[in-house]
Amino acid sequence: MSEIESQYLVFLFGGIFFALLMTLFVVGIVFAHQQRQLRNKQKLDQVKAEYEKTILNTEFEIQQQTLSYVGRELHDNIGQLLSLAKLYLNSSKPEKLAEGKEYINEIIREVRSLSKSLNLDWVESISLEKFVENELNKIQSTGFCEIHLEAQGTIEDLSKDQKLILIRVIQECLNNILKHAHPSKIQVKISASQKSIQILDDGKGFNPAVASKGSGMANLKKRMETIGGKFSLESEVGKGTKIELILPAN
């Protein structure tokens, strides 16, 4: 074999080997990258499914809460009004009949307002501040404790899902206070500029380091994280509790 032939063979086989090596490398990197893309897609699908599950659960819980509120209203308010209306309408005196009709009109108004709360469209139309105010008014009407609302600005840029979760988290926080803290005062501070909601009570407090039996706090924290927000809690035995909800930055 001549020198040129041997040189040609070295170049040919060397070149083929080198091209193969490069191809292998490129295929390897592309494969690793695609695997990671696939894993990431699966992870994203999982997060999305979890998010949808959280939204569904939240909707269900709000509906449950609404139904129990509607039940209470039907029994304590509309039921009473209907009994009164029946009583007055059965009377033969014209002024009693007129009063009975007034009661019927009031019942119609109450039923209309109740029917509006049965689907979740109200979530879109109500502002967060108004919702908190309503919830606090409900607490005050029971005479359970003193309430105080401090709202600076209006929080506007929240999607329906984010609002739904926030409403449920606030409801759950207030329920927990009423159930466990026995406070004499509940204070809610809403700051639109800092995108935060603080819920403070002067109840009996607890030690957050001691793990609770339920998964309530962890659940609230997870829900806030689902919508890109944050949940933090400070409490001390005998010194009340402070909950801070940092809203998602849209």
């Binding site: 490129v26 990197i29 592309v30």
Partner: protein, 252 residues
């Protein structure tokens, strides 16, 4: 003199291809939209092509124009002039172009830790080259094996960091690797550097024992350099076409 320069060019297929390809790439850069010209990945690639285009032709010219070569030699050394042009390759190819490619890779990496490591390597490389030359241990007009070794190792390591970044950083996840020109350019840089690295460290052995293999390393390295040029050219060309299509769509 220019006659001699073109005769030398005519005898060298690599230089001829580089002359044509380089001119096309440089020319195409000017057709890129303004905002793309300012983007580091395009700008550094353009600088790299201009640099290689300049030093490859300048190196050939210095072999012909001995007077100018002797003048430059007298500026960097007091030793007698022997007609070599190695100082051009030492300075522009083994030092400036390697540093430029490291900077190009650096701006494609997202991880702050990997960025810091590569910055460290870059500064160390520049410092290393300066110390070796200023101290006189490895002067510019002679062979500089430690600088060749460090330059190629830095590029191999830098490319490795880029590939690790590519398969670990979330910001790269959306990217389609096959259609990503930077990925192909860095793959070619990695293989070109690996071949140069092998040829340089085995230089003594190969020259005396297996000259075919030594030429093989050098020729493939040249082919890879041309492929890098071609890929950069295609990158620019497709970006110009993309922009043109966008303009046509807007007009429609």
């Amino acid at each position: 003199m220019f006659q001699e320069f073109f005769t030398k060019l005519n005898n060298n297929l690599y230089s001829q291809t580089l002359l044509v390809l380089g001119a096309l790439v440089i020319f195409s850069f000017f057709f890129l939209p303004k905002e793309k010209k300012r983007r580091p990945e395009f700008f550094y690639l353009f600088l790299f092509v201009v640099l290689v285009y300049f030093y490859e032709n300048f190196a050939i010219y210095m072999l012909v124009d001995k007077k100018s070569n002797a003048f430059f030699h007298s500026m960097i050394s007091s030793t007698p002039f022997q007609g070599w042009n190695i100082w051009i390759l030492n300075l522009f190819n083994y030092q400036i172009s390697k540093a430029l490619l490291l900077i190009y890779i650096l701006q494609l990496i997202y991880s702050p830790l990997r960025k810091t490591i590569l910055k460290g390597i870059l500064f160390f490389f520049v410092g290393f080259c300066l110390i070796l030359q200023v101290s006189g241990w490895y002067p510019l007009y002679n062979f500089q094996p430690p600088i060749y070794f460090f330059g190629n190792s830095a590029l191999i390591f830098g490319s490795g960091l880029y590939f690790i970044d590519l398969i670990t950083e979330e910001k790269h996840l959306e990217m389609d690797l096959i259609k990503n020109w930077n990925f192909w350019i860095i793959t070619l840089i990695l293989f070109q550097s690996a071949l140069s690295f092998l040829a340089d460290i085995a230089y003594d052995y190969l020259v005396f024992n297996d000259l075919d293999l030594y030429f093989f390393f050098n020729y493939i390295s040249m082919v890879l350099y041309l492929l890098i040029f071609l890929t950069i050219g295609l990158y620019f060309f497709f970006e110009i076409r993309k922009e043109k299509n966008k303009t046509v769509r807007h007009a429609a």
